[in-house]
């Protein structure tokens, strides 16, 4: 099918089954934001129970039964689905599906992704997977409740898991097709003059992320098939011999291994966490360069660190399994690789910090989020170190310390990076700017309450409060001193929810009433800003794109303005 003549498209072709990467990117964006909101709501119900145990939950209590109180099974269900939805239906589709799809072709000067129809197919696979996951709530046995980690033997016998597995297969397929598309696009469709080391850091981040997805997801798909067979075909891949469940001997062949699931799962799930952070780091890089009016410090080290990080992420996975009885040699191996992998993250963070030195910082809303990302990710990363060392992990594994650690990286880390991206690229997508006042009203409370929710988790974790506890530690003597934090964290969570209201208002009002701007309101150098706002359907640019310089030529001595766009002769 040749691309030069575009027959008139009907509504379905133009907006629903579009093959234009911009529409698909927006589809990913809208769907994922809705899922993020839903996942957040699930967590708020859980936090109510933790703050005010055994009291009826307001607003949604009637959905939980006659008493309105959250029951333990439902608590586990909300917990498992909160994790699943946030990671696989929320963050990854937003960071990779939405931002990756929309921005990458524009930043490399391409008219679209390499395989537009495949792009549409990957969105719809994600959509179907999401529908399946959501539908599990309405099944008679309810949604999955064995944690997002789905460890056997529990996951083989617990309710709701089959639907979860089928949903995951669709989601994994969507990710595979999408990341394959991104890799080919970046390798093949770079505009003339756009060599590898002239790529914006965001594109490098998406490139490495795509490789992680392509290579790490399939073993989980294999594992999901195996677990599905254990559940429906009475195989025993993950069930050991002699297993007794609920007092009865389990009638399967046995001689399987629960550890096998853990290995296959974490082989994906560790690279997955780098998938969660890298696109956000990419966005932060773009926003920092633009709002400091300086090139990013250490561009080459950023690139090498990112590639090295991607490579290392495949050989650290068993640090999630230190307590499974592995021997010293292997434990030492994984501790070492885990310590080594902290180095590239530090390099990236340091380069960003040094980029601020001597800069004329513009404190726009995207920049506020990008700046906040730095210390927040710093806390998240540093708190990971005791978890990566076996000796301390013995005490901290499966406690609230872990929850605090990973939420710091993902919530005030990645999500702040994604917010920065939304505020930054909104003018390119819509031709209008979001309100700065509402943006700051969104930013400051969000920052405060994020810390309010997750900082006390370190305190609770160090005291020994386990995660996934329905009662939040009430029954444990060692938890008594730190129980009061539960209410504090829950109130912070509700306030965080309220802090998003300025964002919603800003987003929707700005779509129609936002300040109209020209194609490059931020005075940025990267290629997407030379396209009209929004870029032309199917073609993006008005003519052929040629690149003459690197991505961050800001404040070049002797230039007539403080930025020199990549595409300007």
């Amino acid at each position: 099918m040749s691309n030069d003549s575009h027959p008139k498209e009907n509504f379905l072709q133009k907006y629903i089954f579009s093959v234009d990467h911009k529409i698909i990117g927006l589809q990913y964006g809208i769907t994922s934001l809705l899922f993020l909101f839903f996942g957040f709501c699930l967590m708020m119900v859980m936090r109510w129970q933790l703050a005010y145990p055994e009291t009826p939950v307001p607003i949604v209590g009637h959905l939980l039964g006659e008493t309105g109180i959250l029951m333990p099974e439902t608590y586990n269900m909300l917990g498992a689905m909160h994790g699943t939805i946030m990671i696989f239906l929320g963050i990854v589709p937003l960071a990779v599906g939405a931002f990756g799809n929309y921005i990458v072709p524009l930043q490399i000067g391409a008219p679209d992704m390499a395989f537009p129809k495949l792009n549409a197919a990957s969105y719809w696979a994600y959509f179907i997977g999401g529908v399946i996951m959501l539908s599990s709530f309405f099944m008679p046995e309810g949604a999955a409740r064995s944690g997002w980690t789905s460890y056997p033997p529990l996951s083989i016998f617990e309710a709701g898991q089959t639907t979860w597995l089928i949903g995951m297969i669709f989601l994994i397929t969507s990710s595979l097709l999408g990341s394959m598309n991104i890799i080919v696009t970046i390798v093949q469709l770079r505009a003339p003059g756009l060599s590898w080391f002239r790529l914006p850091f965001f594109v490098w981040a998406q490139f490495v992320t795509a490789f992680l997805l392509v290579l790490a997801f399939p073993p989980l798909e294999a594992a999901a098939v195996l677990q599905l067979m254990d559940r429906v075909a009475q195989t025993s891949f993950f069930l050991p011999s002699g297993l007794v469940y609920s007092g009865a001997s389990v009638d399967v062949y046995g001689s399987g291994s629960p550890l096998l699931w853990q290995h296959l799962f974490w082989f994906l799930a560790h690279p997955e966490v780098y998938v969660l952070i890298l696109p956000a780091m990419g966005i932060v890089g773009e926003v920092i360069a633009n709002n400091t009016r300086k090139p990013l410090w250490g561009y080459k080290s950023l690139v090498y660190a990112t590639v090295f990080l991607g490579f290392m992420s495949f050989i650290v996975w068993a640090h999630h399994m230190f307590l499974t009885g592995m021997g010293q040699a292997m434990s030492a191996f994984f501790q070492t690789t885990t310590m080594i992998i902290s180095i590239p993250s530090v390099v990236i963070l340091t380069a960003f910090f040094i980029s601020l030195w001597g800069a004329s910082i513009r404190f726009t809303t995207p920049m506020l989020f990008a700046l906040a990302f730095l210390p927040m990710f710093g806390i998240g990363g540093l708190t990971g170190l005791p978890l990566g060392v076996g000796a301390s992990d013995i005490h901290l594994h499966d406690t609230y310390y872990v929850i605090g650690h990973f939420h710091y990286v993902v919530a005030p880390g990645t999500i702040f990076g994604l917010f920065a991206g939304i505020y930054y690229w909104f003018p390119k997508i819509t031709g209008r700017k979001m309100s700065e006042a509402l943006g700051k009203l969104h930013f400051w409370p969000s920052l405060i309450f994020m810390n309010g929710i997750f900082m006390p988790m370190f305190i609770q974790g160090l005291a020994g409060v386990s995660r996934r506890l329905y009662d939040g530690g009430q029954l444990y003597a060692h938890a008594q001193d730190v129980l009061q934090w539960n209410e504090f964290m829950s109130i912070s969570a509700f306030c965080l929810a309220a802090s998003q209201i300025p964002f919603f208002i800003n987003f929707f009002v700005s779509l129609f009433k936002g300040e109209k701007v020209d194609r490059n309101p931020w005075g940025a150098t990267t290629i997407e800003w030379s396209a009209p706002s929004p870029p032309l359907p199917h073609e993006n640019f008005e003519g052929p794109v040629e690149v003459y310089r690197g991505p961050y030529e800001y404040s070049v001595p002797g230039a007539d303005k403080d930025f020199s766009p990549q595409t300007e002769k």
Binding site: L189, E221, S257, L259
Partner: protein, 199 residues
């Protein structure tokens, strides 16, 4: 602006988009089957000594050897079908593509007899962990064969090879890409056969 390098190769990579795309996809497939292979290794080590050898001896080596040769032949006919297009011989292409489909079909028939033979003797995936991983690995491989047949069938039938008359080079590339996928399916079997049947 059209999407470049759909047919012609990008100078610095020497590839067109689809060829790079299929190689990246095959890399993910390597990890998929690799995950299952490592599961096999794990399960064999977790099983009692001799358990896998005992259950493995129930498989038919002659049938699988025959199937291996059938699949290798199909790889040969596949590359010949592409070579025919390169030599602008459309009739030869159809013949070789038909032969490839025939070989794939024979493979499936033999697999059918293998599977039903097992079921007839009351041997199912749940019968042992070896049988579980055997059926999963060969079953997944079989799904890949069927998928390949659907794509090749599409190119073999008139409505699928219209592109030969309008854009012959692009069509030839499509056959090459389908061929790469098919050779990979053969490759997986080359490892599956000794591991499951002979070891």
């Amino acid at each position: 602006m059209q999407i470049p390098y759909i047919v012609e190769e990008r100078p610095d990579t020497g590839l067109n988009n689809s060829k790079l795309g299929i190689w990246v996809f095959l890399a993910s497939e390597v990890m998929l089957f690799g995950g299952l292979f490592s599961a096999y290794v794990f399960l064999r080590m977790a099983a009692p000594v001799g358990d896998f050898a005992y259950w493995g001896s129930k498989l038919s080596i002659p049938m699988a050897t025959f199937n291996t040769l059938v699949l290798i032949s199909s790889s040969m006919t596949m590359i010949m079908s592409w070579a025919s297009l390169k030599m602008k011989d459309f009739e030869k292409f159809k013949m070789y593509m038909g032969l490839t489909l025939l070989c794939a079909f024979i493979f499936l028939v033999v697999k059918y007899f293998e599977y039903t033979g097992k079921f007839h003797h009351g041997i199912y995936p749940s019968s042992s962990t070896f049988m579980g991983i055997y059926f999963t690995l060969t079953g997944l491989h079989m799904l890949h064969i069927i998928g390949g047949m659907i794509v090749m069938g599409y190119f073999w039938l008139p409505f699928g090879n219209k592109m030969w008359t309008t854009e012959p080079e692009r069509f030839t590339n499509r056959i090459e890409v389908a061929g790469l996928y098919w050779h990979f399916v053969d490759l997986v079997w080359i490892f599956l056969f000794p591991i499951l049947y002979l070891l």
